[in-house]
Symmetry: C2
Subunit: 217 residues, 2 copies
């Protein structure tokens, strides 16, 4: 059955890999599954046809035969469960990999989202300058704990898993802020993720949509 995902017709980041379809593309590339992409405009995302697929009017979605899913973490998990390559066979190691998936989206991403909102939605407010350092420190508090746990390891728990895929994707959002570079082991961890051939193919594919040029790799 054909797998079809949705992605921005024009990504707000212009193709820097921060739109969430990149996470799903990456997962599909890791497990070697071909997929098709349906591009949606901002207007179409809020229209009934797309809202039927995604109640929050966002991308990506995932369609495969009768199955329709939304929510990036759930889509990545579905791919990881269905095809080998993203979750360990051992039951306990598998449960720990899933733990890192949830930790990425529910513990590490919320302060990063708040930091992004502080710039994007409140950057022009009178409190922006004084508030920004507070919000940045909340991100640092989490990264400090994550950095301590990762230590000198390559990945969060043994071999690369869907947990690392999600965590690297979440951390990538921080690159332009410079905060990531304050934690050299986390910066190296993210770089290791970006160096994976599957990530590079996913990145090139989403960039091609946004530049109108064919993928370069």
């Amino acid at each position: 059955m054909t797998i079809t995902i949705t992605a921005f017709e024009r990504s707000p980041d212009g193709g820097k890999g921060l739109a969430r379809d990149t996470r799903v593309r990456w997962a599909l590339e890791e497990v070697g599954q071909a997929y098709e992409v349906r591009l949606v405009s901002f207007d179409a995302m809020k229209a009934p046809a797309h809202l039927a697929l995604h109640p929050f009017g966002q991308i990506p979605t995932y369609e495969e035969g009768d199955l329709a899913l939304f929510e990036t973490g759930a889509i990545v998990f579905h791919i990881a469960e269905r095809y080998p390559g993203l979750l360990p066979q051992d039951a306990n190691a598998r449960a720990r990999a899933i733990t890192w998936m949830f930790a990425a989206v529910n513990t590490v991403e919320p302060p990063i989202l708040e930091f992004a909102n502080a710039k994007l939605l409140e950057g022009d407010k009178p409190w922006a300058k004084e508030r920004m350092p507070l919000v940045a420190d909340r991100v640092r508090d989490r990264l400090k704990q994550l950095s301590a746990r990762l230590g000198e390891a390559d990945w969060l728990d043994g071999a690369f898993t869907a947990g690392d895929l999600m965590m690297v994707s979440v951390l990538l959002r921080l690159r332009s802020s410079g905060i990531l570079d304050e934690f050299p082991n986390l910066a190296a961890y993210v770089a290791r993720g970006e160096a994976r051939p599957a990530y590079m193919r996913a990145f090139d594919a989403q960039l091609a949509v946004n530049t109108g040029k064919p993928p370069i790799s």
Copy 2:
């Protein structure tokens, strides 16, 4: 094997069910599994022994034989996968239930966390009064979409699942704000969750820890 979870020695909410161990207790009650609780103080949560279990120094954790997990969503998912009662048998319905688990923690909870932080961490800042309505409106935007999707249904996708357990738990945090009552179908949805015998047993158990009185039901 005995299941042991951790919970606050003294919950910041005094036992109103908002600490995250309530979500795990609820899941265990739904599937009828007995569990033990190890209470941890705020100091102990930041000490090496607890950080080895939970890198972000929080509760709850979950231990069962050789397995040690943290992160509420992952623990609830582990329980749902291991014992019948929280995930549908049908593969597609199961994937959709997992989608709602991720939607609860990654789409609905982040604006609610931001709203909570605006009060808890920035309530005394000069911008608090002007900023609060902006943050509340971001919560309303999400609830409006969730409310539209739920419609007149009892649960998000057919029978009650771990997705509803997580979503109700996330929405419960809004009760004291009054925002939940602006969406009558969501308020009724949360009330349906709270009326489940398993939720009531979980609530009573966490309340008993915080009042020092034995559970009342």
